[in-house]
């Protein structure tokens, strides 16, 4: 059974007298464990698709089954439940609670899921360990770098053990090295069995997915499977800016390789 099943899903906004067709009868299935990138220019409908799949928005037409259950008719409270139990979100601007520790941020979904404090604590610490922030548990979000904040956000998305993680331009505010670090995380999660849906307009980022959808004018234009680029390899090829150089690269390379020199950096 596919995890996501969209059947002729439409979304029409009214802006005054004008009807805006954000989605035009999109039909789509995504199997479990898949890593899908959704591309498209702004206004192509990719964000609307994301919001509907993420149960943040409801379609005006068609049917949407998530994990076999029809969700397009659920009310706000029930949608909140689905978001809490089945979904995880990662946003472009991290969207952590400010002046709040990493741990508390990661605990947030568990809080609304009614998980008792002790278990919440344990699972949040575990999730932070999984994204490599075991030593930053008590740092406040505003004391961390962009890459660290996004890793906290990933930990927050995976702490509920969701079926699907939705990432909306997750690397849009990150430099290329941290972009690769985050993509390593996503590929690990996909391997671990979590389905990933990633919205991006950078082909370099989409290259790490195993399936790429390109949207235009509210329709899926192309839908292709591809051989995903391995993010760990890319990470190994670049020296971290201010850490020990990893073993492998020749010693005569500059220690602080400017990330902008990398060939993947195609668009701003």
């Amino acid at each position: 059974m596919p995890l996501i099943e969209l059947d002729q899903v439409s979304k029409v906004y009214r802006m005054g007298d004008v009807e805006v067709h954000a989605l035009r009868e999109v039909s789509l299935t995504v199997e479990e464990r898949d890593f899908v990138a959704v591309m498209g220019s702004s206004g192509s409908g990719k964000s609307t698709l994301m919001n509907i799949i993420g149960c943040l928005d409801r379609p005006t037409g068609g049917a949407y089954r998530l994990d076999g259950a029809e969700v397009s008719r659920l009310d706000r409270r029930q949608l909140a439940g689905v978001r809490n139990k089945t979904l995880g979100f990662v946003f472009q601007s991290f969207n952590l609670l400010s002046r709040t520790s990493a741990l508390e941020n990661v605990e947030l979904p568990l809080l609304y899921g009614g998980v008792p404090a002790r278990e919440r604590h344990r699972r949040a610490s575990e999730a932070l360990g999984r994204v490599g922030l075991a030593d930053r548990v008590h740092h406040r979000s505003n004391e961390m770098s962009g890459g660290q904040q996004q890793r906290v956000a990933v930990a927050r998305a995976l702490v509920t053990r969701p079926r699907l993680i939705l990432a909306d331009e997750p690397t849009g505010n990150l430099d290329s090295r941290t972009t690769v670090e985050i993509m390593v995380l996503f590929q690990e999660l996909a391997t671990a069995g979590i389905t990933i849906l990633l919205v991006t307009h950078e082909p370099d980022v989409a290259a790490y997915a195993s399936r790429v959808l390109v949207m235009r004018d509210g329709r899926v234009r192309t839908d292709e499977r591809q051989r995903a680029r391995r993010a760990v390899d890319d990470l190994a090829a670049t020296a971290p800016p201010d850490e020990e150089p990893p073993k492998g690269p020749p010693d005569d390379e500059p220690r602080k390789a400017p990330p902008a020199d990398e060939p993947r950096k195609a668009s701003a």
Binding site: L56, R83, N95, L97, T160
Partner: protein, 408 residues
């Protein structure tokens, strides 16, 4: 989500903005503080009035004689003696609601000790007078019936007179001269304090009524040249005693139904009640003004909560994205408002009690902090928090998650 967790989330959000939280509750603090302090002042004044009436005497009626009338100018009550000694005997005998009756014959006179002198009010009376006013001797003894029967030249002094004439010396057994006539001091009365009108009860001297008539005043024998103090049998019977005495005196003075009374009766219990009513009105007035400031404080909370909802739109979006239901969001903001208001209420209570204490110390105003008012104020401020927090909280809970997440 568990209620305790909601409270913790709210508390953490408030502590993240300490300064703003403080400014938000300032209105409530001042409002509750004002209510507590104002009511404490009002209640204190009321208690003082009640106490001073009680010290005048319980269940007290005062009968004043009629007025003189010479060529059209009327002299006011007490200027013409119309009450007779027979009237007094009749009141004692025939008015069932009257427990005690005593005369107070009064004159101002110069009192002289060996080395000091002092002008005060000298009264001629009988032992019942002290029963009516529940007034006991602090030292020595009060007047006795035997003093009255023997026209003894004995005097009982108020504390103020003792202070003026003898200072710290024990005056019992000493001789004081009133209008140059020597009297033996047999007792000093307990301190009574001030009358409701500010008159010093302790600036006085009492002699037996018979002695007063023969030595100090002279003249009238049949009429009472003073007032009659009446103690009713109970607080409830003061009105009945008033009617009985009125009927009895009108009958004895042969007044037909068209004629005015040739005496007047002051009902001290009613005066006390009227005064207490006035104080209650004052308290209510002060409390209402203070209550308005509490209301304004509530509007302040609503204002800041609305700003807070707008400012934290993204946060609300994030919370919704990770699974907060509209109810979770509603409760979070409602609990924030409630926490602010109740915390403000508690601080306000402390401020109010402190202010009342300071006022009492500085101006000598009597204050009385009533626990029930404290409780009501805190509950009311909680209610203010809920009422004024509801609108912003509803607004927050009905945000669209997508719009909230995109909000800049």
């Amino acid at each position: 989500m568990i209620p305790l967790e909601t409270f913790r989330v709210a508390l953490r959000a408030l502590l993240r903005n300490k300064m703003r939280s403080f400014l938000t509750v300032l209105g409530i603090i001042i409002g509750v503080g004002a209510v507590i302090a104002m009511v404490a002042i009002g209640e204190g004044a009321k208690a003082q009035v009640e106490a001073s009436f009680a010290s005048m005497g319980s269940n007290l009626l005062i009968v004043l004689p009629g007025s003189t009338q010479s060529s059209g100018a009327r002299g006011g009550f007490g200027t013409m003696p119309t009450l007779t000694w027979d009237d007094l005997a009749a009141i004692r005998r025939e008015a069932p609601a009257v427990r005690y009756a005593a005369v107070q014959l009064r004159s101002n006179a110069q009192l002289m000790s060996d080395d000091q002198n002092w002008a005060t009010s000298v009264s001629g009376t009988s032992p019942e007078y002290f029963l009516i006013r529940s007034w006991k001797a602090a030292r020595g003894r009060s007047l006795l019936d035997s003093d009255v029967d023997a026209s003894a030249k004995v005097v009982v002094l108020g504390q103020t007179v003792v202070d003026k004439l003898y200072g710290a010396v024990d005056p019992i057994g000493q001789t004081v001269r009133i209008k140059n006539i020597p009297f033996e001091i047999v007792g000093v009365m307990e301190k009574k304090g001030q009358s409701p009108m500010g008159q010093d009860y302790d600036d006085c001297a009492f002699v037996p009524q018979s002695t007063f008539q023969s030595k100090i005043q002279g003249g009238l024998q049949k009429f009472i040249s003073g007032t009659i103090f009446i103690g009713a049998t109970s607080t409830d019977s003061t009105a009945r005693a008033e009617t009985q005495v009125t009927d009895l005196l009108r009958d004895r003075h042969h007044l037909d139904s068209a004629a005015d009374d040739d005496f007047s009766i002051r009902n001290l219990t009613e005066m006390a009640n009227a005064q207490a009513d006035g104080m209650r009105t004052l308290t209510t007035l002060l409390a209402s003004i203070a209550g308005v400031s509490l209301l304004v404080g509530g509007i302040g909370i609503m204002n800041i909560m609305l700003v807070s909802v707008t400012e934290r739109t993204r946060e609300i979006g994030v919370r919704m994205a990770v699974g907060a239901t509209p109810l979770n969001i509603l409760l979070q903001f409602l609990v924030e408002a409630l926490t602010l208001a109740v915390a403000g209420g508690l601080v306000g209570v402390a401020l109010g009690i402190f202010t009342a204490g300071r006022l009492a110390a500085k101006f000598g105003w009597p204050t009385l902090v009533r626990p029930d008012i404290v409780l009501i104020s805190v509950c009311f401020s909680g209610l203010v928090g809920v009422v004024f927090g509801l609108y912003p909280a509803r607004k927050a809970s009905q945000l669209d998650p997508i719009d909230a997440l995109r909000y800049e």
